[in-house]
Subunit: 347 residues, 3 copies
């Protein structure tokens, strides 16, 4: 959707330096943007590219005041760019209704202006909110609730009794509400512990492709408002993830772990069962969280330790063969001294 | 389904202390259970909660003999709780037959009282056992066999020629029988090695959401009786997993690895191709198994070493910067002594 | 399909020693092959099995010149075996057309001799090439292009605008084109950065079950010709993977990483965002690639270091408790010497 630069400036609360009438129809990275597109520079180290880019306008921070082309000055260029992208690429929602090849229980309740593609299954007593979009192959078990304007991409599976809030985005292959992995050994045999709890996903949550979120044994697995989860993440039974936390791809969170709010877990990190992570914590990629991590700090490694310590540990780790060699040398030098002293005494 | 406490006691072979006529209609964790529900205490450290819980009865081990409410005494409280949960929450199976929107080959053979939901595909010459439930979006390729009372949750994909035993539970998004990852390099190009083997899953196996089990190159990938696999696990071609083994989420098992019986692989562990893990082994989370692990022991770390050693290694690992510092100090002290001795000799 | 040994020899450019007229109808591993089947021996350490196998013929390298049965001598026995497997097990393609239970946009363009199974969805303006096979539950969003002879197994999800080349194989549950994981923080809230780029997959790519490949933020995520990706791999937005590279199961590649050509990433390895891996690099299992890896070398560990160094590091790592003990001993011995010298001086 084409916009004038000054319109975009109003939208993001920025100011234009240069021609506010220039028309913007798209956006691109600084090296790839073409005439008619807007780009952004978030870091001073790229200021040199301001005069090279073919973009018709550049979003910059307030410290930049001139360039050979129109500028849009804002406090946070990347944030402004995200908002402008939304406007430029947004497509007005056009409900498609319920496809004849969808299978919807007569006992389900559908909101206004929904879109149910072919091969969608909706079970008994489900409540599907206004303007919800269910793509092909989505399966919603009995007694689920999906909040308004949520989008479930193809082949998402939602088990019975799941509650999903408003404006949720579930990418393809997501599974919500599968049985938690709970057994008790009777001799060698594993006796299944019925997983009779549920999953609740609050508003404004996005979940990446093929991520799995298990239902609770008892009670509920809880994903709080604004949480963003990447692809192929495992969230086990009875886990709680606090508001606005960010879980990167292939992270695994074991049963009953408590993740605070505004936490970031980087890719492939693992969190042990019953572990507790405080608010505002950052955990590095591939780290292993065993017990408790205090709030407001960064951690890395397995077992996870404060990130700065980890960097020093990792540094020595790389030099372990050297450490060993030095140790041997010291031992030899020491043995020589001991021999010298001993022979001195003998004399 | 409501039960009297004495009925539940009979079911699990326990004894009631107090009123056996109390009626139980649900179950909950000790902190959350409400009146009318039963709970359990598995560990002495929670005995203090016996008098706080609002539950109407508590399952305890035989060493507990009194509390302010009815008790159910058993050898293994958690096991008894699992069995009681099954009874309280079981729903009688009601077959739904074959939905008109399912696509079943006329050359397939369906057992009695099956349930095939909409958008289920069953290929040629499949044999689907009695009371099997195939949820929406399940696809069964040609020449498969699914044993009686197995449940395949939404969007499970089973490739041709797969054999699945009785009472199997396959959660949403599971893939069984996909091609093993086998290529041989012809110069730089990867020539595909046709994967012409199969997968066989024995009775009483449960497989978690989005787990993948590849077919064998030749012969078969084999998941033995009673194996339990969590979500997002990778089982490569020609792997064998022994009876009653437990594979936790995001574990990866590479080609031709042999896992013994009653083994536990904790979350995110990796097993290299052709590795061999003996019976009753436990492997810690995120560990890497390279070759062989002898039976009846616990291992951790990458490469995996005996778990007790690993704990000591991890302990020193965290102190590596200190180790380095100590090493430097020793070096300096040694240099001073050497200098002293050397100057002594010169005198 | 039955073949004479001499026909197979022609096919792979090998020579027969012994009876070229023997008929081969199948293939097996050396321990399992039965009469009528062919097997292979790739390594001298298995030459002893040449006389034990029940196979009717054995593929061997040119240095083997006699055995008690017909031999097929070639430069690369494993490669020849792969090619022979293809011939013996190939089934002539029989197009099934478009199933009445498939949902295909009238605005889509289908090639010749396609197979669209039930419950396939094809969106507007898609171009589906000749002899493409779309298995049940495959969903192709609007404006996609699938090259000729590609096979998409059950429940694959392809988001709008994706381009897939010729002879691609996408296994069940693969997701291509899901939104990249891009947010910018506005205070604590995560503002979604619209992911308006695409994914392009070139010719002869195979992608394993439940692997996810995200669309680019801007521009495209690019999987080049001949790349082979295993199961449960995460490929983030704007990643580029070079020709003929091989990505093993559960690898995670973060945003904008550049993987060279002919690279091998072993299982569960992680690659950080914006990392760069040169051509012909091998990265060990569970390794963590942080920044740049120079071409033509092998690396392991987290952070990844040259593989040979890693082996030495891992060796000392296992002995860390010993290192610590030695360090304490040295300290004690040193203290004794210092005390001796000090008391000597005092005298």
């Amino acid at each position: 959707m084409m916009r004038k630069l000054r319109e975009l400036a109003e939208l993001v609360g920025g100011t234009v330096i240069g021609d506010g009438e220039v028309e913007i129809s798209g956006a691109g990275a600084i090296d790839e943007a073409r005439p008619g597109e807007i780009t952004f520079v978030a870091s001073p180290k790229y200021y040199g590219k301001l005069n090279e880019t073919r973009a018709s306008a550049v979003i910059v921070s307030k410290e930049v005041s001139q360039a050979g082309k129109p500028l849009l000055c804002v406090a946070n260029p990347y944030l402004a760019f995200a908002k402008i992208l939304s406007v430029l690429f947004q497509q007005p929602y056009q409900p498609r209704g319920v496809d004849p090849l969808a299978s919807v229980s007569p006992a389900a309740q559908l909101g206004k202006e929904v879109t149910l593609y072919p091969f969608v299954y909706v079970g008994d007593r489900c409540r599907i909110g206004d303007r919800v979009v269910l793509h092909p192959g989505v399966c919603i078990g009995d007694d689920c609730s999906i909040g308004e304007e949520s989008i479930l991409f193809p082949n998402v599976s939602v088990y019975p009794g799941t509650v999903i809030g408003k404006r949720a985005i579930l990418h393809s292959g997501v599974v919500v509400g599968s049985d938690g992995f709970g057994y008790v050994k009777d001799g060698r045999k594993s006796v299944k512990i019925p997983q009779v709890g549920t999953v609740e996903i609050e508003d404004d949550v996005e979940i990446g492709a093929n991520t799995t979120i298990d239902r609770a044994t008892l009670g509920k697995t809880l994903i709080r408002r604004g949480v963003k989860i990447d692809n192929l993440v495992q969230v086990a039974h009875n886990v709680v993830i606090g508001e606005d936390s960010v879980i990167v791809a292939q992270v695994g969170i074991a049963g009953s772990a408590r993740i605070g709010s505004n936490v970031t877990l980087a890719g492939q990190a693992g969190v042990a069962d019953h572990a507790e992570i405080g608010d505002n914590v950052m955990v590095g990629g591939q780290s292993g969280v065993m017990n408790k991590l205090a709030a407001d700090a960064a951690y890395s490694g397995t077992p996870a330790i404060p990130h700065r310590e980890y960097l020093r540990v990792a540094n020595v780790w790389q030099k372990l063969p050297e450490v060993k060699k030095t140790l041997l040398e010291l031992e030899n030098r020491l043995a020589r001294i001991e021999a010298a002293i001993s022979s001195g005494k003998e004399k």
